[in-house]
């Protein structure tokens, strides 16, 4: 059986044209790290520049998500980046029909995009 992280990684690479997608194994779960395609493909504005190292948190639509879980993931990623918490992770939510939807989850209070 294919794991949640694998399905989301496949979706990222083949549907959303990400490159260099790798597993990042944390204590509680596996997250993904990769580079999104050039910003022209993605409907974000100039204020949200995606780096070439975006973290994607694979989630099942049926699973329970708490603040503690999210906080823990930011903390564990920070441990791998000299203690610097990433400013966001991208939640990749998988439905049973294979749909994956992506949501930015910013650490703290973020300003909305200007567009």
């Amino acid at each position: 059986m294919t794991s949640l992280a694998e399905i989301v990684a496949t979706n990222l690479v083949h549907y959303n044209l990400w490159t260099a997608v790798e597993d990042v194994v944390l204590s509680s779960r596996t997250v993904l790290c990769g580079a999104p395609p050039p910003t022209s493909v993605i409907a974000t504005d100039s204020s949200t520049v995606l780096s070439d190292q975006e973290y994607v948190l694979p989630l099942l639509v049926s699973e329970k998500l708490t603040l503690a879980t999210l906080d823990g993931i930011f903390r564990e990623i920070a441990e791998r980046r000299a203690g610097v918490r990433p400013e966001k992770v991208i939640g990749g939510i998988l439905n049973t029909d294979g749909t994956v939807v992506y949501y930015f989850i910013w650490d703290g209070v973020a300003k909305p995009r200007k567009n």
Binding site: F104, G108, A110
Partner: protein, 310 residues
């Protein structure tokens, strides 16, 4: 308490403000509230609403914590108390007032007598006319300053702790720690234990300069504006969870709220406090509990928006 403190009327456990100058004062503090008063003759019209201003419970809690306001029972209590006065009560009050008036009158006569003596003394000195005027003015301030106002009632009222000439003095008499505590419990009475985390998020955003308003129109607890709502669009739709470790944010709620927020050019903020749970157990209605919760670093929040792909 400074006179600038705003009285918040508590009617049916709902915090309301009835005075326009107080409404202005609160707005300058970043508390906007919602106008809710309509016309008795046309209660159906709900487009142009006026006083009173209804506040959120969190608004009231914040104003109380910052010592910008105090709670007052509704005016109805004052009217009821006034209605239950017996004839002898009124006579007793009048007698007490008469006594105070007499005493003040005596004090004033005495002060005025001393003032006149001083003025006569001044007259014997050889000084210029303008100098004389100045000296008289000084003396007047010294001796008669307290009695400048013609209305003795006004002077007496300041010294009176026993009865209330008007609603304002009645309201102010509730500004004592004991009364405030019991009114505070009333304020919280209609709300569950979620209030603790909800208030923490409210204060967290207030501290960052956001103006908060009720969030129903965007499906959240609050909407947050980066300044006065008359000048800015809201930036955030705010929700809170009760328990940092246990409460499910809900994947569907993340998607629906995140998508709606992005659709209206906002972010969805979900927050909570690390130790809200044990504090909630320590009775959410306890003024001391909520106030000692001022540990800002306990607030954890995340902002969600649609990624723009997938």
């Amino acid at each position: 308490m400074p006179a600038k403190c705003v009285p918040i009327s508590l009617l049916n456990n709902t915090p309301l403000v009835f005075d326009l100058s107080h409404v202005k004062q609160l707005r300058e503090l970043g508390v906007c509230g919602v106008l809710g008063g309509t016309l008795p003759t046309a209660p159906q019209q709900n487009v142009f609403l006026g006083l009173p201003l209804q506040l959120m419970v969190e608004d009231a809690m914040w104003l109380l914590e910052q010592k910008h306001a105090y709670l007052v029972p509704g005016r109805r209590l004052y009217d009821c108390l006034a209605a239950t006065l017996l004839r002898q009560d009124i006579l007793a009050i009048q007698a007490a007032k008469q006594e105070m008036t007499d005493e003040k009158t005596r004090e004033r006569q005495e002060a005025s007598r001393k003032f006149k003596i001083k003025v006569v003394e001044l007259n014997t000195l050889k000084i210029s006319k303008s100098e004389l005027c100045n000296r008289i003015k000084q003396l007047e301030a010294e001796y008669l300053g307290e009695f400048k106002t013609e209305d003795l009632d006004e002077i007496i009222q300041d010294n009176s702790a026993f009865y209330f000439n008007n609603y304002q003095s009645f309201a102010e008499s509730f500004n004592t720690p004991e009364m405030q505590h019991s009114l505070y419990l009333q304020l919280l009475a209609n709300r569950g234990t979620d209030l603790v985390s909800s208030y923490q998020i409210y204060r967290h955003l207030r501290d960052q300069g956001y103006y908060l308003a009720p969030g129903l129109r965007f499906g959240g607890k609050f909407v947050a504006y980066p300044g006065d709502p008359l000048r800015y669009h809201a930036h955030l739709i705010v929700d809170s969870v009760q328990n940092y470790a246990e409460s499910d944010i809900g994947m569907m709620s993340l998607v629906t709220n995140g998508r709606l927020a992005t659709g209206v050019k906002k972010c969805w903020v979900i927050g909570g406090t690390k130790n809200a749970e044990n504090k909630a157990k320590g009775e959410a209605g306890d003024l001391k509990t909520v106030e000692s919760n001022a540990t800002e670093q306990d607030v954890v929040c995340f902002s969600v928006e649609w990624a723009g792909f997938g």
